[in-house]
């Protein structure tokens, strides 16, 4: 496989324990707790995870949370709206910096 990403690697996520078991165990236990039903439903958390997966552009996460949201009965419009939330935040984060640009323009201009 001569690309950086291999879909089969997703199934091997657990193998990160091979090089550092203690932290891996802590991480997976924390991960499990985060995604359990809580003040937010597991379904809501899955949609947040799907959106964040797109924001961090992690192909493994996109695969995993597309399946997970489907399993939790989410509809395609719900899934796409979640991705738009990520897109809006990313777009907004870019645009809100333009205030700094505008400030600087005003500082430097007559």
């Amino acid at each position: 496989m001569d690309t950086y990403y291999n879909p089969d690697d997703l199934k091997k996520f657990g193998s990160i324990a091979e090089f550092q078991p203690e932290f891996a165990e802590k991480f997976f236990s924390y991960y499990g707790a985060v995604f359990a039903e809580g003040a937010l439903t597991a379904r809501e958390k899955s949609l947040i995870a799907l959106a964040v997966s797109h924001a961090v552009q992690c192909p493994y996460c996109i695969d995993a949370y597309t399946s997970d949201t489907l399993e939790k009965g989410c509809t395609e419009p719900e899934m796409m709206e979640a991705v738009h939330v990520a897109a809006a935040i990313r777009g907004g984060a870019t645009l809100v910096h333009s205030v700094q640009m505008m400030n600087k323009v005003k500082d430097l201009s007559m």
Binding site: T41, A42, R43, S67, L70, E71, K72, G73, T75, E76
Partner: protein
Amino acid sequence: MQSTKSLKATGHQLADSAFQLTVLSREVAETLHLPLFHEKLRGAGLFPLPSVAPTVLQINVGKMCNQVCKHCHVDAGPDRKEIMTRETMKECLDALAKSDIQTVDLTGGAPEMNPDFRWFVEEISKLGRKILVRCNLTIIVANKKYHDLPEFFKLHGVEVVSSLPSYNADKTDRQRGDGVFDDSIKALRMLNAVGYGQEGSGLVLNLVYNPSGAFMPGSQKGLQDQFKRALAKDFGIVFNELYAITNIPVSRYLDYLIESGNYAGYMEKLVNAFNPVAAAGVMCRNTVSVGWDGGLYDCDFNQMLDLHVASPGKHIRDFDAEALGRRSIVVNQHCYGCTAGSGSSCGGTVA
């Protein structure tokens, strides 16, 4: 494009049960190099899997249906003419009368399309047994002669179990056919109107959720909560419980998996999600399934794969509850579907 014909009518290879069993074993053992189901059971100390005294008689009164759902393990449809005769129904009634099985689960096809359906329900009702009807909902609005089914069900205290894969029209229609969602909503309203699913009515309306695609069902409780919220908010519909059922790789669902390129991935997922607790709780252990021709099986899936019970009497006329309570369940690779994750049965998850 939704097919309007059964695999059988199109002469598809997968209409042959022996071919399906070959395709399943080959995938698990040769392609995926995973253990066969009986080996996995043996590893969990559960092989051979013993039955217990039967408490449920599940009767498939025929393969005729007004729908042609993409995932149907029965390969049911309007072109299927195999339906139970009144004579075989009488043999079922004789078997029930001499046993203490308290629950009769009627399925199909659309069981209501069998011309003797109502007579059969009335006769089972006279025996004082609890009756479940697996109603596809749309049959209620399909023709004027079925419009009074909610009243008929109510009269006999029938528990209605109905498939609804999503509270979203598009998702539902892609699995069950164009317009199915709207008709299902109309039918659910009719059931609600006579009291089904309403608190305190004693009339039980349960929904069946099964995934519209090559993935497993999520938490039954989570899905039920969401279905309750969405159906109440968007349509004012109420129901009792939601059963999350895993799609079993048999017949049209097997065809879908292969055609969509999801077969290996789905089987691998099922095998890797094998749960010994779910395996110990599978419904076939306390169920006897009767085919349209009176044949006896461990479950409706085994029925479609022509895997008869491993008990001396293989026909309802030879029904022997005591012998059936001492049989070993006939297993094959499709059984991985009922033992994955939280498990699956006609009554939802088991673990």
